[in-house]
């Protein structure tokens, strides 16, 4: 078992518990054990885009510092927004001497000084670079053969350029993973189109329209389900289907699954009953179909 220092972030302890649990189950099967950081704090969810206020970067940097305190140099994340915020904060720390100075000074009370050496590792990179899709494919075999999944990257796994898990405009890591699981990856034009993000709090109707477009596109591609890796994308694409259905009588619900839930099914791991309650669009039918295949 390889131990990975793991940063859950807030939502994996709340609305996305099934994301965390399914990741733990699937990764265990692949030889990884997630060891949660002993002490961590919310990363702030969004990287601060205003350059004249560095204080917002302290939250993500402190988590990277905790990793060093626990003797690690890699911090594993599942949530795309945490991944983005942690990784960008580290880049800023290492590449902007003026801000580096400011945040260092603000962290004077910490037991050790942060050295900028914690790398943020996302699930998709781990599966591609450390497990390897060929190895995964061999292990899975036929897996989810006959299932078509629409890979939804959203924004924060890809942008800004150079910080994401793959090429910004032509990513393939999600598709490759889906194929390694034996399923077919839908050629899905909305895969990197924003779901409306945090606007879901104040503009749920606008977000529901985004959901309708994105889900509608996945349906046109013939997908059985949409696969995601971000709890905010998951909420918007799944829970906001309720409003989309209310506003449009012809809207049909589509299951939205975390990629780790799919991975469990591909690896022949049972889809746990309590995970179902976290979903809005019913998942029973697609899970039955996937279970039969795996």
């Amino acid at each position: 078992m390889t131990k990975l220092l793991y940063y859950p972030g807030c939502t994996l302890k709340a609305d996305a518990q099934h994301f965390e649990e399914s990741a733990m189950c699937a990764l265990k099967e692949l030889g990884f054990e997630l060891q949660e950081l002993e002490r961590w704090n919310c990363c702030g969810t969004v990287f601060s885009l205003a350059t004249d206020n560095t204080m917002f970067h302290l939250a993500p940097l402190r988590n990277l510092l905790r990793t060093r305190e626990e003797g690690g140099d890699k911090l594993f994340t599942l949530c795309s927004m945490c991944y983005n915020t942690l990784k960008r904060a580290n880049k800023l720390f290492n590449e902007d001497p003026e801000k580096n100075d400011k945040v260092r000074k603000a962290m004077y009370e910490e037991a050790i000084a942060y050295d900028g050496k914690t790398q943020t590792l996302h699930l998709l990179s781990l599966l591609r670079d450390e497990v390897g899709f060929d190895t995964l494919k061999n292990k899975i075999g036929k897996g989810l053969n006959g299932i078509k999944l629409a890979p939804y990257y959203g924004c924060m796994l890809l942008r800004p350029d150079g910080l994401g898990v793959d090429n910004m405009e032509h990513p393939r890591v999600f598709e490759d993973l889906i194929r390694a699981m034996g399923a077919e990856a839908a050629d899905f034009p909305f895969r990197a189109e924003c779901c409306g993000s945090y606007q879901t709090a104040q503009q749920p109707e606008i977000v529901a329209e985004r959901t309708r477009l994105i889900i509608g596109s996945a349906r046109k591609c013939g997908a059985d389900a949409v696969a995601v890796s971000c709890p905010l994308c998951a909420f918007n694409l799944d829970q906001r289907q309720a409003i989309a259905a209310r506003l449009h009588s012809d809207f049909e619900l589509m299951p939205v699954l975390y990629i780790t839930e799919c991975l469990c099914l591909a690896l022949g791991i049972e889809f746990k009953e309590p995970w179902k309650a976290f979903h809005y669009a019913p998942v029973d039918a697609v899970i039955r179909k996937m279970e039969k295949k795996a």
């Binding site: 709340a14 942008r159 606007q199 104040q202």
Partner: protein
Amino acid sequence: MLKEKGGLSYNTKMEIETMDIKSEFAERISEISGANLFKCYQCGKCSAGCPMAESMDILPNQIVRLAQLGQWDEIQNSNTPWICAACLACSVRCPRGIQIAEAIEAVRQICLRNRNSERRLGLSDEQIKELPPIAIISAYRKIAE
């Protein structure tokens, strides 16, 4: 440069220097965001790819133009900064390398710091129960200075 055509002579050279159209607001935005709005040539690519454009009263490229011209009132009264989802699609696609999402963050910051646009999430208990922490925290972050 004077050109002769059909017996008429007219001036084909137009000189607009960034010096002449400098606006205090564009500079303020640039200070906060690092984006040089004067590089914009109004191709519209930012707005074409903006997922929230349909719900905005002023498009992202128009925000840039208005900022160049110092039309702060229009920008300040627009819903655009509060509809933008900070998805970064505009920033990564601008052929002039202008960080528009960052510029829009700067607009939000200026409004918030001016204290003339008080923003509250005003979520009901029901909404707080429904929304995941990631949605509430990020929405708050965008109205925090």
